[in-house]
Symmetry: C2
């Protein structure tokens, strides 16, 4: 199949590679810098996103944020100008759910289908074609997207209509951030109260406090390994989406808001690039105390 792929960053590059390896023909936008050699071979290199859309049956976008998707789709020489009835846009970026529905409605006017399919699993998941993918769209559009998504991910869920994939991703990021914050408070409390945080973590695994975050991120906090993983500045972007959507929806998210402030405290200490488990340092700083060396 002819597939346009827009957004060849840390995530997009290996994802596009899996599609090529599965036998698809890629259409790419010519960059100021050189396109990755492993992708260019056999690909259609286009001057604009419009030309990519003209050359492709399915167009996939994987860009940083909501305004980036808007520019790629609706900017000058954007995807929308090259779309025609029957084409499918799959947006795998993590962006605002409400705006996603607006984008999908605009593409529907052109007769094009839309699936939002944000991912989790990070660079490692992208490289190993093991991403978790949360999808929104009609049954037909999802069925059409699924074989392509299966080349890039493993745990692929059709959550609901357009936008619901982005809703699930935001919900995921709220829970992960707040669970990291919970473990941070609990371990700093335990250590400052004189217990060994590693023993406390072990005592709690298997009970009602157990979580993937208690398994994975608590261990990073105790071992002081804060190389990403998933960077604090990216989790801030995701909580910003949550808080912005919440404001638009008339919804109060008190602990999401306070956790975002704690991420900001980490950034103030130079931690934008720390793994998100580095949130523990904000709790430690307020206590003038550290779990480890």
């Amino acid at each position: 199949m002819n597939i346009g792929f827009i957004g060849l960053g840390i995530m997009g590059r290996p994802m596009a590679g899996h599609l090529k390896a599965a036998g698809h023909h890629l259409a790419l936008v010519k960059h100021r810098s050189d396109l990755p050699a492993e992708l260019v071979d056999g690909a259609a290199v286009c001057a604009t996103a419009r030309e990519v859309a003209e050359a492709s049956e399915v167009i996939i976008t994987m860009v940083p944020d909501t305004p980036d998707v808007e520019r790629v789709l609706f900017g000058a020489d954007g995807v929308a100008e090259g779309l025609s009835a029957g084409k499918l846009l799959i947006d795998m970026s993590s962006i605002d759910p409400i705006t996603t529905r607006v984008f999908a409605a605009r593409l529907a006017e052109l007769g094009a289908d839309y699936v939002d399919a944000p991912v989790s699993g990070g660079e490692v998941g992208a490289k190993n074609a093991a991403l978790t993918i949360m999808c929104g769209g009609t049954e037909d559009a999802f069925a059409r997207a699924l074989p392509l998504l299966e080349a890039m991910g493993k745990n692929i869920t059709h959550v609901g209509g357009v936008g619901d994939g982005q809703v699930a991703k935001v919900a995921n990021q709220i829970i992960v951030a707040l669970n990291i914050e919970a473990v941070s408070e609990a371990l700093v409390f335990a250590a400052k109260a004189g217990a060994d945080p590693a023993r406390v973590r072990e005592a709690l695994l298997g009970g009602f406090a157990s979580s993937r975050v208690l398994e994975v991120h608590a261990e990073r906090m105790i071992k002081r390994t804060f190389d990403p993983g998933f960077r604090i500045e990216l989790h801030q972007k995701d909580l910003n989406l949550a808080l912005g959507s919440a404001r638009a929806l008339g919804l109060s998210l008190p602990n999401t808001a306070s956790t975002q402030q704690l991420f900001s405290a980490c950034v103030a200490q130079g931690g934008a690039g720390w793994d998100h488990s580095g949130l523990v340092k904000a709790i430690e700083t307020m206590a003038n105390f550290h779990l480890g060396e």
Copy 2:
């Protein structure tokens, strides 16, 4: 072995029953109301906690809160008056860790050992002898307590020195409360943004957002089953311990504090007796929106 058991409430009664079934001789304090018939048969019924301590090698306390333990141990005709060198006190109540160390030091002056061994697992765990038990004390004291604890629980951890069992229990209750709050924010967000919260929960299980709380409590929120379980008023007591100890230790627990306020909002709605997953109703009320009927 002669075992004194003080505190025959919902938890203590079946726990004492397991010790009797294991062949031990119980010493109990005479109550204003009748003692449970299944425990009285063959037991020494004493007029005071002092007499229970005189009659027993090991004394177990299972009472509601820190002042209750203080009264039982150090009040008039309390346990301390009946203790002598070589006896062991096992406090299975969930109380303040710092005060626990003070209690242990006072009993050490009498030559008595102290193990703090708070439990999780609730009434069902107590009845099935399947409690999780988090222990603090010396190696020797823990080794002496262990065979008795094994009659009442399954997942028994020696966390560290005296008080560390209570520290682990507080850490556990912080994480459980904050994970419940996290899932509450995420599911209310998802539903208000138009997605099906049950589908979102399914999409998230297995990823980094997964936890026992996402498995168990999120399902209660979606199915609107708020019978305890574990009552909000009890979780409030535990967060009160966390916040009181944190103040004493010079430690800031921002999300524990805000979550305690949300529990208070539930109590204001008549929810003291709801399962702690009913916390979701505080988030719903602020959003003027409900996940379910």
